[in-house]
Assembly symmetry: C2
Homo-oligomer: 348 residues x 2
């Protein structure tokens, strides 16, 4: 793949300001109500304040503008996406027993599981508010359609998360590449890429727009993004990555990298891996994790996964041309067209 | 209080059938996808299939009809309420570390915390679907207003849950009756009584209806309901109650009964109680719980709370006459008018 221009990082930065301001409206304080502030609203506002990449909301804003909508019309949908994303992160971090998020301890590590879970649930329903509020210039028909899209995203995300958690809980190793891709389609792509593109197009083109033409682009882009994320989890730079390195191995996640390894390991290595993955996080130790990491390198599993991610990014570029053919040239369209390359350049 | 006619139990039973059928439409199987069925959809459908009292959805259906709407117009809102309620039960049971729900182990006891949490989150967003679907005959304006009401309910419920969890986590004993009533207003009343009445009236009377007139009735009824529930938790009949008896003491909940006890205990008893409530659930034992239970009886704390609940139910009856003055006589109105008496007759 080539190297992106500064367009992607500049666009992400400028949209981050717009979306952060928009989110702040839905993250109120509880003036004079110290207990509500301390037990709920401080927690609800924490992840949004840690400032993520804003990739999801930026894809929505760029798509809407690429098809002719004004920025301000699309902001509520972008804010809604980012709030829902942060809500699911809180719950995912609990489910995965993750330690770090965006360079700081996870919310349940800071406040205990019960209050963190509750804050995540609160943020989930709050994510609808931008689409329902008086500030939104969306028509009621478009708003209702967007809410329908969000219930779809919620279902897909929950299905993906259920597969990942179930496979870990039951120590399932009977998995192939297609299982991983189905997982990623649901767990990652619907919220991260497919919905943002569909929402942006819906806002610009109205409820008669044909939205399914964007699914393939979103899937290929999101899958490349997730596989690169899995790679960063193993070989990234901790300072930029913001999560503990090797966390996926501690958590027992069935990444494409692990599936590649399982298909290459010798029978005795396979039995060793089965014992490793059968252990709950608390019973694993660093030496065992290091052993698996060195097996991954020895069998070229990381490289193999990276190659597949590159192929997916190529497919995303191809699908982009098809799905956005009738959008005129613009910097919004350019931004979107550079994303399949950008996903490999980021280190966080 | 008097004794209710069979009207309440008969009405609840007949609405239960309607709402159960309605819920089933939003609790799909995953045909041919065994992993999704086993890791998500079996879990999502579990609590709804355990058949609760259906009080919440019945209040909505009765209010809508009392003000002149047809039953079928109100069903989507009633189904939505029951789905949201079940979603919050799953999360609350995790947060409270509860063991039993509706006569069976809680969802996280059956499937582990991660998959149960994920199923609860999925059900939360699913609860919007009845209001958005093609099957609904609600106007878009009413649907959007109902969704706004639901985000309000979600916020109030999360605030109430946050107060309860925070008070437990920090072993707060500096609480008075008004703190408990604020907690119950948020944790219980908005979803259990206030929203169902408001939603029913909104459906029947349209978006110009004045809904705040129903808040007092809902608050008094819901508070009486919750206090009676707290009493059943201590002195109920396990077979009917469906949760472990004394569970609130194991979980350290700040019920009105406990607040009454703290205000009546001697200084040395107060210190004893402080030590008891400071312990996490796993460090408490049955003898300690029995000691607190006998203190509650000795100081008349349960009776005192029951008296307050009776006064609240009386206030609910008074508020009912005011808020429903312009609804003509009907069996729907009669059903609602009997609820303040019914809340004390139920044993589950």
């Amino acid at each position: 793949m080539g190297v992106t221009s500064p367009l992607v990082s500049e666009t992400l930065r400028s949209y981050a300001n717009v979306v952060t301001d928009g989110m702040a409206r839905y993250l109120p304080g509880a003036l004079g109500q110290a207990d509500l502030q301390r037990y709920l609203y401080d927690l609800v506002a924490d992840y949004p304040r840690r400032l993520g990449k804003m990739m999801r909301s930026s894809i929505c804003l760029a798509t809407a503008q690429a098809f002719g909508a004004r920025l301000d019309i699309a902001v509520p949908a972008a804010v809604s996406i980012e709030l829902l994303h942060n809500s699911l992160l809180i719950h995912d971090d609990i489910e995965d027993e993750s330690d770090e998020r965006r360079g700081a301890p996870t919310l349940h590590k800071l406040h205990g599981l019960p209050l963190a879970l509750n804050a995540g649930s609160a943020l989930g329903l709050t994510s609808l508010s931008p689409l329902l509020g008086n500030g939104s210039r969306l028509s009621k028909r478009v708003a209702v359609r967007l809410l329908n899209e969000i219930t779809r995203v919620g279902r897909e995300s929950a299905e993906g998360q259920a597969l990942e958690l179930g496979w870990c809980r039951d120590n399932r190793l009977d998995l192939a590449e297609r299982d991983y891709l189905e997982l990623v389609l649901k767990k990652t792509c619907w919220l991260a890429t497919i919905h943002p593109v569909r929402a942006g197009a819906l806002i610009a083109l109205g409820v008669t727009a044909e939205l399914d033409r964007f699914v393939s682009f979103g899937f290929f882009l999101g899958a490349a993004f997730q596989i690169h994320d899995d790679v960063l989890n193993l070989v990234g730079d901790h300072e930029h990555y913001g999560k503990e390195l090797g966390g996926d191995l501690w958590e027992g996640k069935r990444t494409l990298i692990v599936i590649e390894l399982l298909s290459r390991a010798s029978p005795s290595q396979g039995r060793e891996l089965q014992r490793f993955f059968a252990k709950p996080r608390a019973e694993k130790n660093q030496a065992e994790v290091d052993d698996v990491l060195s097996l991954l390198h020895r069998h070229g599993a990381i490289e193999a996964a990276r190659d597949k991610a590159l192929a997916l990014a190529g497919a995303a570029q191809h699908e982009f041309e098809r799905a956005f053919a009738d959008a005129p040239t613009s910097r919004h369209k350019d931004f979107l067209s550079e994303l399949p390359t950008w996903v490999f350049e980021r280190n966080s």
